[in-house]
Subunit: 212 residues, 2 copies
Amino acid sequence: MTIANRKERQKEELRGKILEAAKALFIERGFEETSIRNIAEKIEYSPTTIYLYFKDKDDIFYALHQEGFVLLNQYLRALLNVTDPFERLKAICKAYIAFALENREFYDLMFISRSPMNALTKDKDDEKWEEGNKAFGALIGTVTECIHHGYFAGMDPEVLSFTCWSMVHGICSLEIRGRCTVISEANQENLTGKAGAVIIEILERMHRNLIK
Amino acid sequence: MTIANRKERQKEELRGKILEAAKALFIERGFEETSIRNIAEKIEYSPTTIYLYFKDKDDIFYALHQEGFVLLNQYLRALLNVTDPFERLKAICKAYIAFALENREFYDLMFISRSPMNALTKDKDDEKWEEGNKAFGALIGTVTECIHHGYFAGMDPEVLSFTCWSMVHGICSLEIRGRCTVISEANQENLTGKAGAVIIEILERMHRNLIK
DNA sequence: CTAATTAACTTAACACCGTTAAGTAAAACT
DNA sequence: AGTTTTACTTAACGGTGTTAAGTTAATTAG
């Protein structure tokens, strides 16, 4: 029994080391430059060993993708004590943008890259979205509360949540994938911050409309 | 003289054939599955010939990226006769989403994929953005007109334009990169349409706020 | 008209990549 | 002590982008 335990622990350890090496390479070099062979070299095992722990390359990046969602939820958890739902919604938008800019490679993996999604479609497993659902659930919950407080009257909470997500995602993904070069140099400085502020301004103007 | 002309014309023809083959493969199989060797096989030339016409793979996809902007501008040109700037802004948003959904691979290349941007950073050439600037310029022009008509008072035209772009880009890129699975099945049907409608509803509610 | 040059293209190769089949050696179990 | 299982490796397959060197035909120059 104890031998089996030790073995299991050791397997888990190596799995962890693979993931750790993959993460390190991936964060410093990006997705394209992180190969199975690179990872193998870093942990001093043969490339094929990795296939004993992960189905394929997409599977490794799916695991990192999950780690990213845990990290995102850490950013969001701090905002649960903001009582006013509208203030919380604005805080979520800001925190989301901060997460994206402070963890660019993770953000790319979670919301832009195709790789981790391939791993999902191969074996449809709903519970694998646990962390993702938690993050999006926080948004839906907040938006729903906003609606109950009279904001965004008549809108569908889920669709509006998706739209809010889209708005901030748009900003972050254009920044991360380097599409901001069409903007004048003066406005390129902290463009995501400025655009984020505009989003919040837009939400607030809708609010002002309501209370008048 | 006439011989040199013919030669030049022939060179241009082959360049066109490479691009045509690349486009066909890329549209039906996507970026990852379109290789230099595939393209070469399709036009019945050796792979190395392609390097006589394009610097590298990114350079080919940059050329297609440019074609995409021409196509997008066709979608936008039709809207120039919408006289009311606010109506035109809403129409631009709708047309942009339609373009994205009807030309998914092009959209991916133009606004998501890293490949064509690599070609740009290698040799910074401002005039290469001509078509891109035309598209974004149409947006800026419309937003500026809106502001002159009293909409979005106090906002920076360029930053607001970028934010509008971000909003619709967010919707399109989440759809194209398959991130809409967290939404309930009921709302997944025509989600981009619903979210696009919410964006327009948001813009309109800001407007209503103003005129009251 | 012939020799030298240039243009257009190909062959062969390099150094990678993800992935798999087959083999090995040690550990665990019977 | 012999058998089976586990953990891992070697070697290979078929693919990728890219480059150096070679070939052949067309053009130009003497």
